[in-house]
Symmetry: C2
């Protein structure tokens, strides 16, 4: 077993956060923003380095305000400032006594923004596609009213998306670590599985394996199965028992130090049928084509095209064409833009991380029903191509037993 | 080791969801709402029974629309309907081809709400304290504009909070299961710990232990330590090495089948000092007083008072008085209202789950610094008192080595 590596605290040296702040300010100037307000878990952590793991925390929102010049500040519930001051670079931490449902940070956030928005009267915040806010909408509307005539405009697309899309070498290293851990876990799994396992127990075996190898969290672990294949890609695992003739699909979203991997693998219980093998081979080749197409300067839509062409050559439905995309990015959030599809022409740049995710549909002779075949690999874009972060899926589906 | 119990799919029989829908409709009628729109992960799961585990999913929001009469419907990304139709009671599932950043469900949600809001012109949604929405605020503002003159009003407080606060016996059973699993994990831990462990490796040992015993997820696991005690309750674990004289505090938020526990335990590395023992004893007694004060018909503020009195009798600061509360509730979300504090007078009712969480501050003679002592137990309110769900913390702090 590999040596288990604990995350460091803070996750990155101060220079990494200083660079993020500086780059954000450059983008804010382009957008004529006086300040940036973020409250989503991912964006808050991106700037502050907060290591707190309390997902879904509804009671005590956390705000980070970045003025275009002057000291950035965090606005958090009383009590949270102690840990933040000990584990992050933050110097200015403002607090209110929470929970205080009538005013959970609203007045304090509004005051801070009003003071910062003196020039353009514009504050950028998380409004656009694939964004979330980390506090109640009702409170957002109140803050918006309190800061008038200062206006909120979207900063998710023109600032956060552009910032987070290009990873630093240190960020790529985190994703590389979790990809390695999960790859090793997947490789160990066929020896651990047996007929009679359920989707749930099979996933649990992988989960324990990757935790023992140093995954920080195993937030998403989807397991699905069926005779000759699976008919959906979510809403699993269930207690379905795995028998000879089944294919088990496990899709992971695991983290090392808050950075995600996202890839899947397949396991056959007994030798797979010809139809299953053909679908696997086709999508494996589509993945090869996708990886080969990743080059700086190209639009991601060309990566999609390379995969779609292979899938089309197999004469089967291009499943992922219908459901919108054959990949995306990831980092401190999963998934992240861009989408690898026909219409997203985002230019590939070094430092991007991409999930190469072609899929196809086929008919299982076992019962004449529709099955799905979805492969995934994670790559980091380099100066002249890409580095494979996940260990490449085997050319033939591993067989259990 | 206890037999590992896999979650069932669906989590509850259809009658449980039918009851939730019926009770929601009763509350909606009181509020003169034509329809309810929810998109947060907790509320979506509460109504639909969706078992998908893709936390923090930003790309494909999920909406549930409950008209006050007529068929409830889910609005989800194309592809997600297959799994939902196989694993939930939902009959009406509407889809759009996602991701489609220009219109990710906006038009479809607005159309569905407009059709439903014919009588009062009011739609209840997640706006109020401790709520979140599961889609971008920019899209919320567009939906709001599209449905005009239909108005959005808060349904988190008058509908969702009241519904979710009283748990069914089947819900209490889920929390009981995770409390038992984590209690057993905590009991096993002193034998597994040793000097030289770090906060991180100690937490990992507990995490593996509770996963092997059947915890579904270990989302939140905070470990903090220091000579004679800890000085904060979040932003851990770190790679701090545990040595003789240290106290290790571990706070868990683990799940069984999407239902949370939330309690902590303490471990001394070598015999604790008198100051540490006194603080532990004081807060242990405050917890006893809190548990004894839980009775249907009383306001939760009386439970706070019972604990605050004991803490005050010790002559130390009542830490949790300052940070707002000495407990809360939990269920499919952690934490949930009410807050156990001086000003929350929510009446205790059978079926509520409460976290009894008194705290105190004290000075560690080791370095003259401030330390925190925070205890927690989880209880379910019964007809005449409460059932302890977590196994009561030992009267004296367990000693490692």
């Amino acid at each position: 077993m590999t040596q288990v590596q604990a995350p460091t605290v803070p996750s990155f040296p101060p220079a990494e956060y200083a660079r993020r702040v500086e780059q954000a300010r450059g983008l804010m100037q382009e957008q004529r923003l006086d300040a940036l307000l973020v409250s989503s878990e991912g964006n808050f952590r991106y700037f502050t380095g907060d290591i707190t793991l309390s997902p879904f925390q509804m009671t005590r929102p956390k705000f980070f305000v970045l003025p275009v010049s002057g000291e950035p500040c965090a606005i958090v519930a009383q009590g949270s400032e102690i840990g933040l001051s000990l584990t992050t670079w933050l110097k200015d931490i403002r607090t209110w006594p929470a929970p205080r449902p009538a005013d959970d940070g609203v007045t304090l956030v509004a005051e801070t923004l009003r003071a910062a928005a003196q020039r353009f009267g514009r504050v950028g915040t998380e409004l656009g596609p694939e964004s979330r806010i980390g506090f109640p909408v009702g409170d957002f509307l109140r803050v918006r009213e309190l800061v008038e005539p200062v206006a909120f405009v979207d900063a998710e697309q023109p600032v956060m998306r552009r910032l987070r899309m290009i990873k630093s070498p240190a960020e790529v290293a985190k994703v590389r670590t979790i990809c390695r851990i999960v790859s090793e876990g997947f490789e160990a799994l066929p020896m651990l599985l047996r007929e009679g396992d359920t989707e749930w127990s099979a996933c649990r075996k992988l989960e324990l394996e990757v935790m023992q190898r140093g995954a920080t969290k195993t937030f998403k672990l989807t397991g699905l199965s069926g005779a000759g294949g699976y008919n959906r890609t979510n809403t699993g695992p269930t207690d379905r028992v795995l028998n000879r003739g089944d294919v088990l699909f496990i899709d992971t979203g695991c983290q090392f130090d808050h950075y995600w991997c996202d890839f899947d693998r397949h396991f056959a219980f007994g030798p797979p049928s010809d139809a299953t093998r053909r679908a696997y081979e086709l999508v494996w080749r589509a993945t090869e084509a996708g990886i080969a197409a990743v080059r700086p300067g190209r639009p991601v839509s060309e990566v999609w095209r390379a995969m779609a062409d292979v899938v089309a050559s197999g004469g089967t439905d291009a499943l992922k064409t219908k459901v919108g995309r054959m990949g995306h990015s990831m980092g401190i959030v999963l998934p992240e833009p861009p989408s690898i599809n026909e219409t997203d022409h985002t230019i590939i740049e070094p430092g991007m991380i991409l999930n190469i995710e072609p899929g196809a549909a086929y008919i299982a002779p076992e019962d004449g029903g529709r099955r799905i075949m979805l492969h995934e690999e994670n790559v980091a874009v380099t100066a002249d191509g890409c580095e494979l972060l996940s260990k490449r899926a085997p050319r033939e589906m591993p067989v259990v037993g």
